[in-house]
Structures are given as C-alpha cells and as structure tokens.
Subunit: 416 residues, 2 copies
C-alpha cells in the first residue's frame, strides 16, 4: 500500500520553517511498511492544493495532508480536499461545541472565524484534537484514504499515533516490517558499496540500503514478514554476511552512537578516560559528554590549543615541540600520556592537527591530524590526511579518535 | 520568475533525514524575490524522478534539484535530468581529473564507480565542488534553467551562493535585491515579535522577516531597488529603528557568528581567554575554536566534569563544593577565577549546570545552569533556567556564556 505526504503552508515554501512533519510521517509510514514515493509542499493556494491533491490521489492509496486547518481564510486544506473529492462542506454543531468548550476551558475569546473549523466534508470522520482547535479529518473512498492533520507537530503527532495509525493498520492487515541498522566508521562510501554491492543487488526481502553522514555510514536491512520472528530470521544471515566482510568497521547497531559505544566499553572495563585536544578545541569532549551518564568514565579534559598549554597542562617538553612541531606523532603521544598522567585516568586520547583554512605547509597540509591513544591494552598513534572544511576536519578527527580508542580497547588495533 | 525545488533521496522519503536543503533554498529564492510554489521529494528512482522533473520544468522556469549526484548506482539525478531533457551524458576527462586530484590529495583510493560523477549532460555547465567529489550542474534552455546540486548541505550551500545565486541574479535582470541580517541573542522569539510587529506589518519594501534557530534569532531586512545604494538607503532606517528598540541584543550582522564577534572583542583588547566547562564538556571550547585564527586569543580550556577535576585543575575548594554544590553560583565563580589564574589569561568563563536527563532535583531541576565571567572589566554570574533536551540545554548554555562575556566586555552588564 502506497502513501504520500502533502504539507500545506506558505511558511514552508518561504523556508521560514522546516518540514519536520514530513519526516515524522515518513518514519511512521515506513515502520508500517507502506511505500512512500513523494513528499510535496504547496502554499496556501486553493487551486494549487487541489491539483497537488488530485495528482496524489491518483497515484497513492493514502494521502496525508498536514497544515492549513486553522481558522483563518488562508487555511484552505479543508476546502481544497472537499472540492477535489466533490464532497460539500457542512457545519457540524457537535464539532463546534467541542471547539467552543476547549477555548472556554483555556479562557480564550471565541472568534467567529473559528466556525470554519467546524465545517466537515460530507462523509468524513472527525479526529479529535485535545491540544488545539483544529480537528483532523479522515475520508475513505474504497481503498483510498485521505487524512487531514493540523500543522503544529505537537497536535499532529499524537493525532497520527492515536487515530491515523490504527486506521492504517486496519487497512494493511497483519504482517510486520522490521529494520536493523548497522553503524559503520573507518571505511568510505564507495569502498563500502564495492564490498557489499552483490548483497544489495541480490536482495529484495530483506532490502539493503546505505546512507552516509559526516564520516559515518549506515547500512539498513529491512524485512517484511508475517511476524517478527520470521522477519528477524530474514535479517540475521544478511547481517552476518556483512559483518564477515567489514568486521570491526561496524561499531554498533540501530540507535547506537560512537561516543555511547566507547562509553560502554570504558564502563565494562571500569576505566576512566582523559582527553587532550588541540585542533578539535573541545569537540571530542563535547561528543563524549553528549552521552547522559558519561561522568561515570569521564572526569577531565585538557584543551591545549597553545604550545604553552601543551607544556604546562600536559607536561609536553618544549624541546619536543621545537624538534617535531606541535602537529606530530611525538607530540600526540606526549599529549595522550600527559592527559593520562595529569588526571590519573586509565585511557588517554590526544588530537593535534591543522584544521585550516590557514596554517598548512607543503609538508603538513591542512587536514594533517595526529591521533594518539594510550590505554592499559597498549598504545597507537595514527596520522590522518583529511580533506574538507575546518568543521569537517574537526568532526572527522574527533570521530576517528573515538573509533581508534574503541579498536584499541577491543584489541583490534595498536600495541607497543 | 518562478522556481521550484526537488530533493532526491530515499533517505528523505523514509524520514531518516529532514529536508533542510529545501528550507535553505526556499529562503535564498525568497530573498531573490522569486516565487516558489512547490517543493517535492522523490526517491532514488529514475522513472519517478523524470516525471517529477518534467512536471516542474513545465510549470516553473527554474528547477533546482538536490541530492543523487554521488558515485553509486542509486544516485540517479544526473541520469534522470539528462533523460528528461534529451541530452546525452558524456564523460568529461577534465571533471574526472578534478575528482581524481581531490581524492589523491587526501590519500584515498579512487574507486572506479566515481567515474559516474564525471558524466556531464550535453551543454551543461559544471559547478565546481571543493568540498566533495560531486560537481554540480547547470543546464539552460531558453528562459528555463535546471540546476543540480549535491545533497550534503555543506557542499550544496556554498555551491548555491558561489555559482547559482549569480546565475539567477543574471536572469532576474537589472535591479538588485539586497538583504541584511541582524543577529540577535538573549531575547525570546515572541518577545522580539512583539517589539517589532508594527515594523513588520508596516513594510512591504524592505520586507522584514524573523527566523529562529537554537537560542538565536535572525531579523532579515530585504529591499528591492534599481541599484545597491538605493537598496541600502531603504534598509538603513529600518535597521536603525530595530536597533533603537532591542539595542545590545543584536550581536552582529549578516555572516557574523557569536564566537567570531566575541573573538573580535578579545583581539581588539589584546585579551587571552580561558574556559572552565562542566556540563558543556568542551562544547564552548569547540565553538570558540570553530573560528579560524582563534589561537590568537585562546590557549587553554579546562573540561572539569568531575568535582575532583574542578579541585585539582582549577583549585576550586572541595569545601566550597560540599557547601554549595558543584552547580552553584559560588562554584561557577571559583571555576572562572581558577581558569584565569591557572592559564594566566585575562578573561575566564565558567559553565556548571545540570544538562539532564538525570541529575535534577526539586531545588535544582534539569536546566539549572550557572555561568560566571571574570575579566578586567569586572565580573558577573548568572543563573539560567533552561528547558528542553540535553543537547539544547548544553548549546544554549554555551551560547549564553559567550553572550554574557560579550556584554561584560562591552560594559553592558556586570560589575564588582
């Protein structure tokens, strides 16, 4: 069963707000296993809304519209759908009393133009809105269903979950859609695709899809089946095959995050971690402490942006910096060791590099970054040659540092 | 002149990411005075992309597509537009050399499938992409223009500004559209709207629009005129009127950023700044060092997440923490003073608070944050009561800390 999403509102067309309703509904519809092939945004214009709705109605069984149900004359979703489906609007006294009751409870005056919100297309079902004055509407015609939801997410989302999702489940019949995401780092998008292209091509159930974002990749395996156990049975061998090929590049699954996974490893080992950051300037600490409860394994970080700070806070010898430079393997190692020593932590991570746009040389161009990790398991230092802008270089440096610490703790990398 | 926006990507249809590209482009097109009546999202499906493009091409003079320009076989935007416009794709050696050069510079292997990115529809102009391997494309046909941009915002946005905006300005013809953005912090969206609602309502040229994002606001004044001087003359009195009303809440204009503005103030005064961060865990340092050249005024930061670190790194007395708690005005003051003392900096900023989701109490609920700033100009400590999730509380804390330091240096706030 296919669905599509139409958001109505000139404020969206002007970019004054971002269409998060489409994202919410898309996720919900995907979790129901419904195919969604189009999202559309149209403004508060009756003719264009009617055309967009008619087109959607022809190509999809379910059309969900958000926005344009307010009391003012530029709220035209109700009128547009009624027009497109040739269903006259009628005033419903019970809906009006509901609206009046709600405004009365919140001590608001009752403007006459709110009466528009009690107009209901013939044969439509009214979906209650306890969080606002705009009721939702559902109109069924054979195997087609049009759903009109209010625009504010805090009204739209509960209305979808409480009323629309059950309506859709009823139409879909039983069966489940199950997804599993593998979270990948340390391998490029093209290289990953080459590694698993044959698996992607060979599958239709489960399907395999790849997504990239800021130095990380996600592989999503999605199965349709009559129940959850069968769906899991379809996913498991695919996951195993992918794991066999890219092994430890998979750092987690589903909602796992890199700082969360590293934190878990630290907790399991009872380790404290300390950070020494130069070019990332606190970004690694910020990511590590994004995780609630990170105080269990993180107590201290040293942002040593200047050479003086590297020396005075971490005990990096000034002669070492003079000889090798602050962006060097030797300095990174000394920083990591210094952070561990100064804080008494078990694990030390250090990052020093040239994030740009200035400061690069022929020998050490912008994007040259050294990462060192010292831990009871051993130590490693790696040189990265990153590209992109300052922000990307910093973000990739911090993520790579966490990944290298993860691999070291797992015994997958590094030793003296 | 009408434009419309098509975003290509199954990850959008599935709701895995939100279509922020549409918002960016919509704002840009609106600022150029172009009418935008539709945004569309389609998946990585050639047939549906071709149909969506053809429909857009019929009803709008400018069609801007984002996404689907990557190296993998499900990146189909190039192929789809070439097909729709009956322009065969040809391999361009110079484009390929550019891609190869970029991968070579970053020591990455060069997968064969990246060659797809060097395929160019006949007659298309190639738009360089210094931030990624996917070049953009522009195809002009009479008064129609198709523009293909990469999906990642950090590649797409500068490509639009550098190459597409000038192309559009050329087509719009003479006359200019000039925008000026006032960057605002420390005042809520509703409060700001109340302050300037009459100005917004009274204006049609220039127009005044407000945008909110993560604890900051932007007021954008846009004028149309026959030349730049006239446009500036229209904007100036509006800007002056707004400044008279909200004064020092305006921290900058246009591309100014809060860390950039604070950095400028520090440079002008020849000050060094040091940071002491607890609940933000390095986020403030990360923001301060987002600014290229920040090493001129920033050398050292202390991420003192644990009480032990507050004591050993910053000299905060353990008795003080025992008496007032780590989340207290006294602790924030001691941290800021300690960071200044330990580093020898002129200005110290400290943040300590409860970012949640756990750790709140009746007396100090989640969102309770203390910020202290000490400087030659004086000192201040402020208690914040923030709402929202962990990430929002942390981001607002860091931004508020920079704003308080700015106001203290300007003599607008704080004293002994």
């Amino acid at each position: 069963m296919n669905a599509e999403i139409i958001a109505v509102g000139t404020e969206l067309l002007l970019g004054q707000i971002v269409n998060t309703n489409a994202q919410f509904l898309a996720q919900e519809l995907a979790s129901l296993g419904m195919g969604v092939y189009y999202h559309t945004v149209v403004g508060d214009n009756l003719q264009r809304l009617v055309q967009a709705f008619q087109q959607a109605w022809e190509r999809s069984q379910v059309v969900i519209l958000t926005g344009g149900l307010g009391p003012t004359t530029d709220d035209i979703t109700r009128d547009g759908v009624a027009l497109a489906l040739h269903r006259p609007l009628g005033f419903h006294e019970d809906v009006w009393q509901e609206i009046v009751g709600q405004m009365w409870r919140t001590n608001r005056p009752i403007p006459e133009n709110n009466r528009r919100q009690a107009m209901v297309p013939q044969g439509a079902t009214v979906l209650p809105n306890p969080r606002g004055t705009a009721p939702g509407l559902a109109i069924a015609e054979g195997d087609h269903l049009a759903v009109l939801l209010p625009g504010p997410p805090r009204e739209m989302q509960p209305m979808f979950v409480d009323y629309v999702r059950p309506l859709l489940l009823e139409r879909i019949g039983h069966g489940v859609i199950l997804s599993r995401s593998l979270r990948v780092i340390g391998i490029g998008e093209s290289a990953l695709e080459e590694q698993i292209a044959d698996l992607i091509a060979a599958q239709s159930n489960p399907t395999i899809a790849m997504y990239a974002s800021l130095g990380e990749l996600q592989i999503r395996i999605t199965a349709k089946a009559e129940d959850e156990a069968v769906a899991q049975g379809l996913i498991a061998p695919i996951e195993a095959a992918i794991r066999q090929r890219i092994g430890s590049a998979i750092y987690g699954v589903d909602a796992d995050t890199l700082p969360g996974v590293l934190g878990q490893l630290l907790k399991e080992r009872g380790y404290q971690i300390a950070l020494a950051e130069s070019c990332t300037g606190g970004l690694l600490g910020s990511m590590i402490t994004d995780v609630p409860g990170s105080s269990e394994y993180f107590g201290a970080g040293y942002i040593t942006y200047s050479n003086h700070a590297k020396h005075s806070m971490l005990g990096v010898p000034l002669e070492l910096i003079a000889k090798h430079g602050a962006v060097s393997a030797a300095c990174a190692e000394a920083m990591a060791a210094g952070a561990r020593r100064a804080s008494g932590a078990d694990v030390g991570i250090a990052i020093t590099g040239i994030a740009g746009p200035d400061g690069g040389t022929a020998e050490k161009p912008v994007g040259t970054v050294y990462i060192a990790v010292v831990a009871p398991e051993g130590a490693l230092v790696e040189k990265l040659a990153l590209r992109g802008e300052r922000a990307a270089i910093r973000a990739r440096s911090a993520k790579t540092a966490m990944n290298l610490a993860r691999l070291l703790l797992l015994g997958e990398k590094g030793s003296f």
